[in-house]
């Protein structure tokens, strides 16, 4: 039997890596991928809690999370394609029209 | 409405499928050349030339060189010589009679030009070989009788078998078993 803390630490490490990706990378596609990593880390901890608390809620929420993630990716990539058409760039710091 | 129904019930697709199934089950047309069968051409076929002899075995060719003149690709070389030994029908026979098969286009003008019906196009069509020597048909080769006799009616697929020898690959026909190919 694997203790709960193992899963939580794994989830935490992946979460941190995801946050690092979002904060550090310039490429929006990589940023979106890092968001997916964060979603996944949350899923791991949800399922782990659900398993150890013998409750179904966590698992069901994973289903919802996955659905939301799929929707998010579809819309996010659509926005990305639209932005790329306008600006010809996918680097976050070059998309700074709103700053000025 | 019927169009719509047709689309729903995949009528066109089913028609196509049934057609191909019919083809799949019917007999194939393939001639299994060279392993088992071979196409025997009609008598009018223009293949490798032959030099004919008359009933007494004399060469019909009188080396008039009309064939060489008529040849559009200038592939026939004829050198005449005198001879009184009765090899030919006249006292003039060909010393050299050579056809360059690489250049020949099998048009049959030589046949038309020949006044003595000495040169005729035969039914041999397997002319490929490993060296360039056989691209030249000399008099001896042209005089030798061809595998398929002239009077044999063509337009059949005949049994044949592939032979691998040192000289090359040959397809030996078996004239006794023939069938219409269609």
């Amino acid at each position: 039997m694997i203790p709960l803390s193992h899963y939580l630490i794994l989830s935490f490490i992946i979460f941190t890596i995801g946050i690092a990706g979002v904060l550090l990378r310039r490429n929006i596609i990589i940023v979106l991928m890092s968001l997916e990593l964060i979603f996944n880390s949350i899923n791991i901890s949800l399922v782990a809690f659900s398993h150890f608390l013998q409750s179904m809620t966590g698992r069901l929420f994973v289903v919802f999370t996955i659905t939301v993630a799929a929707a998010e990716v579809a819309v996010g990539l659509a926005i990305l394609v639209a932005v790329y058409r306008q600006r010809k760039t996918v680097y976050v710091e070059e998309l700074n029209e709103m700053k000025h | 409405m019927t169009d719509f129904l047709k689309k729903i019930l995949f009528i066109d697709l089913i028609k196509g499928l049934s057609l191909t199934l019919k083809y799949n089950l019917s007999k194939s047309f393939t001639i299994r050349y060279p392993d088992e069968e071979k196409w025997l051409p009609y008598q009018r076929f223009r293949g490798l030339h032959t030099l004919n002899k008359d009933a007494q075995g004399r060469e019909l060719c009188v080396a008039c060189e009309l064939c060489a003149k008529a040849c559009p690709t200038k592939c026939i070389t004829v050198v005449p010589m005198e001879d009184n030994n009765g090899i030919g029908i006249a006292d003039r026979i060909a010393k050299i009679y050579e056809i360059n098969l690489v250049r020949c286009m099998f048009c049959g003008f030589c046949e038309d030009a020949c006044p003595t019906t000495a040169i005729r196009m035969g039914r041999e069509y397997e002319l490929a070989c490993f060296s360039l020597d056989c691209a030249k048909a000399d008099k001896q080769r042209l005089l030798a009788p061809q595998e398929i006799p002239v009077e044999f009616e063509g337009g059949y697929v005949i049994k044949a078998r592939l032979e691998r020898t040192k000289e090359g690959i040959r397809v030996r026909p078996d004239l006794t078993k023939k069938k219409r190919w269609w």
Binding site: - | L13, G16, L17, T20, Y23, S28, T30, R32, D35
Partner: protein
């Protein structure tokens, strides 16, 4: 570990070895059969010279492929280029872990199941893992650094997204009828009543069309369209890497036939003959059908493909689910 678990483990390993070697060997006769079917449909004979009726032709082809030079384009992404054929091959083999060939049989007084494992999410697992196989196409096409290959991979990715939905919805219809995601349960429930094709004719049609698109066969093989894309995603591949793609394609065809049999045609159930024979007969009938279709229909245009996928198959499969649900209530 006691002896019983050891025997179980050994059995599983033996089954894995048998199934995977069978799958590796299967494309050899299948290529021959496909060429023969192609020949006879076109009133030809097909391969005839190597062995009896050309039966050794695939072996000759295999030897030829093995000894060909393995070319990797200079500007290709070497790492992905080498990885792509393996990615396309492995998932399709993995799917066979849950494919049931028959029910239990008794060997030396011990019950042996004719499937590696009976997952309770079997059908989902198969559809999900089979979906990974498309990465081989996508990454291979991208890594080749060639225009044709890139277009092939873009096409296959779009095609895969649009047809996998319809395919899984068609399978969901069956799941609703039989109340189980496990393939063994699906077959057993069909034994009790009739074949699922009677309840799900629309689902079956959708399944076959979407399945054809999913395994990239004519009339939907837009990703390797010879006419416009030379050979699509595998245009730069040669030698064994190319044969991996071919292998994956044939195994995918076998998978689609097996799934069609299991989902809609009662799996191994049938009168008189032993179950495994029935299974083989049904699967080979489907394989023949796929070949038959291949040499009958011309390839669809790309916009037609997308129209069929999104505007016809997807709504139809939803309607199918709705009707099934209404009947179940």
């Amino acid at each position: 570990m006691d002896t019983n678990t050891c025997i179980e483990l050994a059995l599983i390993i033996i089954k894995v070895i048998i199934i995977s070697s069978l799958l590796f060997a299967l494309p050899i006769p299948l290529t021959w059969i496909e060429r023969k079917v192609a020949g006879h449909i076109q009133l030809r004979l097909g391969p005839f010279r190597v062995g009896w009726h050309g039966i050794l032709q695939p072996v000759a082809d295999m030897i030829k492929l093995m000894f060909k030079e393995d070319i990797i384009p200079d500007k290709a992404d070497k790492w992905l280029f080498k990885l792509a054929p393996i990615i396309s091959l492995v998932p399709i083999f993995l799917t066979f872990a849950t494919v049931p060939v028959g029910d239990k049989i008794t060997v030396f007084g011990k019950e042996v199941t004719l499937y590696i494992s009976d997952m309770n999410v079997g059908i989902l697992y198969i559809l999900a893992v089979a979906g990974i196989g498309v990465y081989g196409l996508i990454l291979g096409g991208w890594a080749s650094n060639s225009k044709y290959a890139l277009f092939g991979s873009i096409r296959s990715s779009a095609q895969m997204i649009s047809y996998e939905l319809a395919l899984s919805f068609a399978a969901i219809g069956v799941v609703m009828v039989t109340n189980s995601l496990s393939l063994v349960d699906i077959v057993n429930s069909q034994k009790a009543t009739t074949w699922n094709i009677c309840y799900q004719p629309l689902g079956f049609i959708i399944y076959i069309i979407a399945g054809l698109a999913e395994i990239n066969r004519i009339p939907f093989d837009l990703s390797e369209d010879e006419g416009t894309l030379a050979a699509g995603y595998h245009v730069e591949y040669s030698s064994m890497r190319f044969s991996f793609f071919m292998l994956a394609e044939y195994v995918a065809m076998v998978l689609m036939s097996v799934l069609a049999v299991v989902l809609f045609f009662g799996g191994w159930s049938g009168p008189i003959l032993p179950p495994i024979v029935w299974f083989v007969i049904k699967v080979s009938a489907f394989i023949y059908f796929f070949m038959w279709v291949r040499f009958t229909f011309p390839r669809y245009r790309y916009d037609q493909l997308m129209t069929i996928g999104w505007k016809i198959l997807l709504p139809l499969s939803l309607v199918n689910i709705l009707i099934t649900g209404l009947f179940l209530i």
